[in-house]
Symmetry: C2
Subunit: 254 residues, 2 copies
């Protein structure tokens, strides 16, 4: 039975997309069957693995215009499929408002897919609005990337609050998969201060694996590749492989 | 007559908030009367200058529950006032959907304030939804921070498209104040590649002033201060003072 993990944080630029792509690719490299879902109108996860124009996206699926099966496409990596996004999804936030069970559209769509994949990863937009709520309602757990800087630390309260609200009203089984420190720069005292604060608060929910700041991670999407394919020897590739390893171990799937 | 500038880019983490705070402070240091408006539910601009709890925020103003005058507060700098935000603003996106002239709520609210201030700067959330549309509809011009990395470059198309739609349907006089390269790291070839691409596309709309990556800029908000007060000697402070200088010159206000 596939595990659905939402990758969420309303703070912008903390590494949600980089984590969605590179964790998915690292799990796929371990021959786990992965479905990557891009639910961000910016569609960075889609373009970051070279997908720019498609017939059907998550938008058509959420508003009920196309089936989810018709929207799945192969990706550049074996074992990794994608449901892409597009800018049309901006309109979805308004269109969904008046729909029946508007937070459960994604849950419904994924019902038949959980038996097909080992993991379904959902890349969320930087907001706590309807698209993110759909992801948190559909997910078994949420992975929270936290950039090692002040504003990212500050935003955690609102995110945890939202997770609790979803737990109480929409998805009783939602858990925290883990908290991932991203863009960690060991030369900076600020990085260390924020990471210690995060560890103090979240204890062993914080992954042992840490994603260090590594320019190769930011170069890879311009080539339409996960870091593992772009530069397998890089620190970035190694960090995401460690994360995948830790997640497989935590879920008894190694 | 005050100029209203929206600081917008739907890509997360590109420096909208850092630019809102630090440009506002630098203009205030030149004794221009500045109103800083935080229209992002994350409320980073508010917390970044030490404001955490207030009676009235932009949320109450937008839904018509409080007057804009009652919501203005002094900030840590003379000449710089703030209308803060709060997490309640997440609800505004849904509440505003059914309101009369829902994209003009902010325009209405600012009508009486433009004669009071030299500049009104609006920090937008990382999205192209109703809050950003309100800012673009109210503004005379939009300042676009662009982080020197691939995803930030890629998102410009959607942003320019939105600006054109607003120009045609909601705000005929909307112009581009300028494009600001942020987090520029001269050691990285990617930084140079992206900045050259941006200059090729935008020509002299790109500010001469460039904001370099400087850890002091990311430390300042944890002390509730603009970079100018936190470390006036830093490269970050110098960069934002250059930007303020360039904007005053372009607007014949020096
Ligand atoms: N470990 C890292 N080292 C260097 N650059 C990184 C790293 N992780 C991400 N980046 C870069 O930082 C920027 C922000 O990352 P990313 O787009 O993954 O964040 P995000 O949370 O998905 O942003 P948004 O909120 O806009 O969706 C991107 O340009 C990305 O390539
Ligand atoms: N020039 C810089 N050098 C170093 N760090 C910076 C610089 N500019 C911004 N930062 C830091 O990068 C992070 C993102 O910046 P900021 O919050 O201003 O972006 P934003 O576009 O407002 O993000 P969001 O989309 O979430 O609103 C913050 O932690 C900030 O302190
Ligand atoms: Mg993203
Ligand atoms: Mg911001």
């Amino acid at each position: 039975m596939g595990k659905i993990i939402a990758i969420a944080n309303q703070k912008g630029g903390v590494g949600k997309t980089s984590t969605s792509i590179n964790l998915a690719a690292s799990l796929a490299a371990a021959e786990k069957k992965i479905l990557l879902i891009d639910i961000d109108p910016q569609a960075n996860t889609s373009s970051g693995i070279g997908i720019h124009e498609t017939d059907s996206t998550i938008y058509e699926v959420l508003i009920g215009k196309k089936s989810v099966e018709k929207s799945i496409i192969r990706s550049i990596m074996p074992f990794m499929d994608l449901i892409p996004s597009s800018i049309d999804l901006v309109g979805a936030e308004i269109e969904l408002v008046d729909m029946h069970e508007r937070e459960r559209r994604l849950t419904e769509a994924l019902n038949d897919l959980v038996s097909v994949y080992d993991f379904i990863l959902i890349d969320c937009p930087p907001s706590l609005s309807l698209l993110t709520l759909n992801a948190l309602t559909a997910a078994n757990s949420v992975l929270i990337p936290v950039q090692c800087e002040y504003f990212a630390l500050e935003g955690l309260g609102a995110l945890l609050n939202t997770i609790n609200i979803v737990k109480q009203n929409l998805n009783k089984q939602l858990t925290i998969e883990g908290v991932l420190l991203t863009m960690f720069d060991q030369r900076l005292r600020l990085s260390t201060q924020v990471s210690e604060e995060v560890k103090r608060y979240f204890g062993d929910k914080v992954f042992k694996a840490i994603i260090h700041r590594n320019v190769r991670i930011s170069e890879a999407p311009s080539h339409g590749k996960p870091i593992l394919m772009y530069d397998a020897m890089s620190i970035g590739a190694r960090d995401y492989l460690s994360l995948a390893d830790e997640i497989l171990t935590r879920n008894n799937m190694k």
